[in-house]
């Protein structure tokens, strides 16, 4: 009887464990294992043996002093750069093993970028900038592209600035356009590199709130590099870095 009950108990633990594991595996969106990056020309370890997991819909802040490897990590996750070793699995696929073409397609379809200096194309209007990811995807009609980009700009409060060029917009407005551009094609992952770094506190807070709201609304995962504790406080989790590696909670 005791043996039976132990067997049943064991079975239950196994079942529950499997369920939990399945549940956990399903929730993890980004899994980084032993990631290292060494720049050949500088012989400097920008990242060393870094492992990390980020869950679906999680809004994560990445903090650390300048030069600690935040941007390098973001570029590696986005597939802009290649790691020296280690793996990055996003939504089940190891991006470090993807060929250039696959990586480009992956970036185009699955990732949205927001930069510190906005990086809008000065030669295109706000609406044309927002249309870019849809244009590059080459799977939408002109009408659809226009509708989506206008809708997105309206969502970020710039419905009246569609035909404005970046030089005719304020810093806060430019970053709103950048946010709209990052989200317009509904990517699974948003990468933001110090998105408030070039804005005043009020504008910074507004952009962050906007980004957070929209990501949550669309169930998108976001990783944001920042120097601001206030900004980090608004995130679900804060990961701290130093000298190319993650700090433990204790170290932080």
């Amino acid at each position: 009887m005791a043996a039976n009950s132990r067997t049943i108990q064991g079975l239950c633990v196994k079942l529950l464990g499997g369920l939990a594991s399945n549940l956990i595996h399903h929730k993890v969106h980004i899994k980084i294992d032993n990631l290292s990056k060494q720049y050949a020309e500088h012989k400097v370890m920008a990242l060393s043996d870094l492992s990390l997991a980020i869950e679906k819909s999680e809004f994560v802040a990445l903090m650390g002093p300048s030069g600690c490897g935040k941007s390098t990590l973001l570029n590696l996750i986005a597939g802009i750069d290649k790691p020296s070793s280690g793996s990055i699995v996003i939504a089940g696929s190891d991006t470090t093993r993807l060929k250039d073409e696959e990586l480009t397609r992956f970036r185009r379809d699955k990732i949205g970028f927001v930069f510190q200096f906005f990086n809008l194309l000065s030669t295109l209007t706000a609406q044309e900038n927002v249309s870019l990811p849809l244009e590059l995807a080459a799977k939408f009609s002109g009408k659809e592209i226009k509708e989506r980009s206008v809708h997105m700009l309206e969502k970020v409060g710039l419905g009246s600035r569609l035909g404005f060029y970046p030089s005719q917009l304020s810093g806060g407005e430019m970053q709103r356009v950048a946010v709209a551009r990052a989200l317009v094609h509904s990517p699974e992952l948003i990468i933001a590199d110090e998105p408030t770094g070039n804005l005043d506190t009020e504008n910074g807070a507004q952009i962050l709130e906007l980004l957070r709201t929209l990501c949550k609304e669309q169930n998108q995962t976001a990783i944001m590099a920042t120097h601001s504790e206030d900004a980090a406080a608004l995130c679900d989790r804060t990961i701290r870095m130093k000298d190319g590696r993650l700090l433990s909670e204790h170290e932080a």
Binding site: I80, T104, T123, L124, E135, A137
Partner: protein, 887 residues
């Protein structure tokens, strides 16, 4: 100042090195512009300089000349009327000065001088290696054999010494000549050899008695000179009792006094003038041609200027951020301004210096082409080497630097007008251009309107100044309209390309539209280069087609005959009346129009007087008259009257119309001619007056002919008649007889010679256009690196980036081509109907060389794509993170 120097090292030099491809293309553009201008100017000056120098060397110490007024030569008895000059201690000597050609191909043009070797010793020196004077030795003192020996060179012409193994009196024997060392070298002549010359319709062997040194008279006409005793020359040239002129040495203070006494005592058939007048006449004759050539060469420099403007504008746009930062850090406006001007000066300096080296190198080729044109159109001229005049080098350098500074001025002013806060806004300049574009377009319209007004103004002192002004206004006016036109066009194209080649096409057009300032500068510089190419192509082919049509229409005779000497160049070649009458008797000939022509001076300008047999011209000829009247009708009005017809260029030069009367000089006194018709003619720029043959004989007592137009009876074989003519004339007659077809081919060959320098300019214009394409595209795509990096972040594939850049390049190439075609057409209208008309007086029918234009456009389009390939490859390899971060 120290701030300027330290900043210039980091700001200018580093920038130039970092953007080395663009720097190199800009330098090449300036170098090419300066080289073309310099080469043309050196060639012009050398062509004229050699002529003047030769005239000086031949004139020697003579300060006055007695020359024929109406005829080719003067009676030697006039010398007897000058005996009073001995009492005044004034020396004088007769001279024979004729152009002949060597019989051996390539038929070099040779100046034959017949001198009185006794009396001419005071006048000119025939330098020898030993510094002795041939005339002194052989003339004044007949016993001084040694000195005579010194004057004639040994067998080695290259030695430059003069010696005569046959002895000092050899030169006084029949047909003996002293030969210029350069000619001797080229014809491989030694003392004792024969130089065969074409003289009228004869080929004559002249034994070489000596080789002149390469100094003094031997240097005249680039060494293409032969010297004879005057009596031998008279015999050789059938000029018994005639001389070309009399040279006199008159002290400068007595020039006026002696000059007026000479004029009084000599008959009206001669005039007294300064030797420099001949040089001035040549200069006057060539002035229009040379000015036009210089002006055309300036277009190349103008393209260079646009290249500098392009480079500097992009440099300023690219560095707005840096300028703002420097201004914020306290850099004064003058420092920022000088930094940009400094950058332009470095580019201009290197480009101009390279251009000078290139110009000197190309000048030899330009001179060969210019000489061909001068020889075909104006005067016999022996080949020569380039005279490198430091003033011209300085002028070319100055022009290069001046245009560089002008081109850099506007971008540098733009640089200092940037407020520090504004500079951070990357594209504020572009928005400024966009908002300014309607006003710029309006300004462009005003310039174009001014250009139109300028184009209908008359020539200024014979030079089409307003025509060139109109051309410059057309170029600048159109360039000013470019931003406005592109603003509208690129929006439209973005939709069109989006629908046809997809989003890359749409984005390419949108990016170009967004960078309106940069795109406009690139398109404008491309356009100017292409317009130069188009306008020259249209002008040349229009000219050629007009001449072809004219040749078809007017050259009707079955055979054309002229003395061999004249055929290869000698304008003085003549056929005697006896030969002509022998030819008339050849069976199969229906009629012969024996035409004679003389160069004359009309109202101080060179012109040609021709005389033809009107009855033959009425029966067979088919001259095209401006008012469309049939040839026979006009010519029948002329026959039997003191009347004539004039060529279009003569009519325009002297403002003469039908019904006007003109007065010509003749040995028998002045006589008048009523103008009965104005006909199209493309054979002479100075123009023709044609009168009936019998009137000519009456006024000038000359029965010689220069050309025979022979009309055959029906069904007679021209080849047989040709052979019969050769059989009918004396064995030693050297005639050139061409069939109608051969003559037409020959005329077009002469046309091509006339246009050889224009062909060269045309080839250069294509190179300049391609350079413009490369510079503009390379600059534009290199400037887009950051944008391409962002595209990469956003997921653009390598193919998409490559396609984007190539479409941009193709778009720029196409827009430049279209703009260049439009302006090129306008420029060619100006060149054909205003500039050439005013310069040369020729009506040219507009003709579009479609095949050539299509080929050129294809070439430029391919070059555009090729110029886009390198940036496209770079774009594909752009390290996105690095570019976006560093920008």
């Amino acid at each position: 100042m120290s701030a300027f120097f330290s900043l210039s090292r980091t700001f200018i030099l580093r920038g130039l090195i970092r953007n080395r491809v663009r720097s190199l293309l800009t330098i090449l553009g300036i170098a090419l512009g300066v080289a073309v201008m310099l080469a043309i100017n050196l060639a012009n000056a050398s062509a004229l300089g050699r002529f003047s120098e030769s005239i000086d060397l031949v004139s020697g110490k003579a300060t006055l000349n007695v020359v024929p007024r109406f005829e080719a030569d003067i009676d030697e008895n006039e010398l007897a009327k000058l005996s009073w000059l001995y009492d005044e201690f004034i020396k004088f000597t007769p001279v024979i000065d004729q152009v002949v050609v060597s019989a051996k191909p390539p038929h070099e043009v040779v100046q034959l001088l017949g001198l009185d070797l006794f009396s001419s010793k005071e006048f000119r020196e025939y330098d020898t290696a030993g510094g002795n004077n041939f005339a002194t030795s052989s003339g004044e003192n007949n016993s001084s054999k040694n000195q005579a020996n010194d004057s004639l060179s040994a067998d080695d012409p290259a030695a430059g010494a003069v010696n005569s193994s046959p002895g000092p009196f050899e030169i006084f024997r029949r047909n003996r000549i002293l030969v210029g060392s350069e000619l001797a070298k080229r014809e491989n002549l030694k003392v004792g050899d024969n130089l065969n010359l074409f003289l009228n319709d004869k080929e004559v062997s002249c034994p070489v008695a000596g080789i002149l040194s390469s100094e003094g008279l031997g240097k005249a006409f680039a060494g293409n000179v032969v010297l004879m005793d005057i009596s031998c020359a008279q015999e050789l040239l059938s000029m018994k009792g005639r001389i070309s002129r009399i040279d006199l040495i008159v002290p400068s203070e007595r020039l006026t006094e002696i000059g007026s006494r000479l004029s009084k005592e000599l008959p009206p058939s001669v005039s007294v003038e300064r030797p420099s007048r001949r040089g001035m006449q040549v200069e006057k004759m060539l002035r229009s041609f040379q000015y036009n050539l210089t002006a055309l060469s300036l277009i190349a420099l103008l393209v260079g200027m646009f290249l500098i403007y392009n480079t500097m504008s992009i440099s300023v746009i690219r560095r707005r951020w840096e300028i703002g930062t420097m201004r914020a850090l306290g850099a004064s406006m003058p420092i920022v301004f000088s930094l940009f001007m400094g950058e332009a000066i470095i580019l201009g300096l290197i480009g101009s210096l390279l251009g000078i080296a290139g110009g000197v190198f190309f000048a030899q080729f330009a001179l060969a082409a210019v000489s061909k044109t001068v020889r075909a159109l104006y005067a016999d001229q022996p080949p020569g080497s380039v005279i490198v005049d430091p003033m011209i080098l300085l002028l070319a350098f100055g022009a290069g630097m001046f245009l560089t500074l002008i081109a850099a001025w506007a971008p540098s002013m733009e640089a200092i007008s940037i407020p520090p806060a504004e500079a951070a806004r990357r594209a504020s300049y572009e928005r400024k251009v966009e908002s300014l574009s309607p006003r710029l377009a309006l300004f462009g319209c005003v310039l174009l309107l001014c250009g139109f007004v300028a184009s209908i103004q008359p020539a200024l002192a014979g030079f089409p100044f307003f025509g060139y002004l109109a051309a410059a206004l057309a170029v600048f006016g159109s360039a000013a309209m470019i931003p406005f036109l592109l603003d509208k066009l690129l929006r439209l194209l973005s939709r069109l390309l989006g629908a046809t080649i997809g989003s890359e096409g749409r984005l390419a057009a949108l990016s170009l539209h967004g960078a309106l300032g940069r795109t406009s500068v690139a398109v404008a510089s491309l356009m100017v280069g292409i317009s130069m190419m188009v306008s020259l192509a249209v002008m040349i082919s229009s000219f050629r087609h007009t001449v072809e049509a004219w040749v078809q229409q007017t050259l009707r005779a079955d055979l054309w005959l002229e003395p061999a000497g004249r055929d290869v160049s000698n304008r003085a070649g003549r056929l005697t009346a006896e030969i002509v009458s022998k030819i008339r008797k050849v069976p199969g000939i229906d009629s012969v129009d024996a035409f004679v022509e003389y160069p004359i001076e009309y109202q101080g300008q060179p012109a040609n007087l021709g005389a033809g047999e009107l009855d033959v011209m009425v029966k067979h000829g088919n001259l095209m008259f401006l008012n469309g009247e049939p040839s026979a009708k006009v010519l029948s009005r002329v026959a039997g009257h003191d009347a004539g017809i004039i060529s279009e260029s003569f009519s325009l030069k002297h403002d003469l119309k039908i019904g006007d009367t003109l007065t010509l000089q003749s040995p028998g006194g002045p006589y008048q001619i009523k103008v009965e018709g104005v006909y199209y003619d493309y054979s002479s720029e100075s123009g023709y007056i044609v009168i009936p043959r019998e009137n000519f004989a009456r006024h000038y007592n000359d029965l010689n002919s220069t050309t025979l137009a022979i009309f055959l009876l029906p069904n007679v074989d021209p080849e047989k008649v040709r052979q019969d003519i050769f059989a009918a004339v004396p064995k030693d007659s050297r005639l050139n007889i061409r069939t109608n077809r051969e003559l037409k081919t020959q005329v077009l060959k002469i046309f091509d010679n006339t246009f050889s320098i224009t062909y060269a300019l045309h080839a250069i214009s294509i190179a300049v256009a391609i350079l413009g394409v490369m510079n503009a595209l390379f600059a534009l795509t290199m400037e887009s690196r950051r944008d391409l990096g962002i595209f990469k972040y956003l997921g653009a594939s390598k193919e998409q980036l490559g396609k984007l850049v190539i479409v941009q390049a193709g778009l720029l190439g196409t827009l430049g081509n279209l703009g260049g075609l439009a302006i090129g057409m306008a420029l060619s209208f100006l060149l054909i109907h205003v500039i050439n008309k005013q310069s040369f007086g020729w009506t040219v029918q507009f003709f579009l060389p479609l095949d050539f234009l299509l080929q050129s456009f294809a070439l430029i389009f391919v070059c555009s794509i090729l110029s886009g390939l390198l940036p496209a490859r770079l774009a594909e390899k752009t390290p996105a993170a690095e570019v976006v971060r560093s920008e």
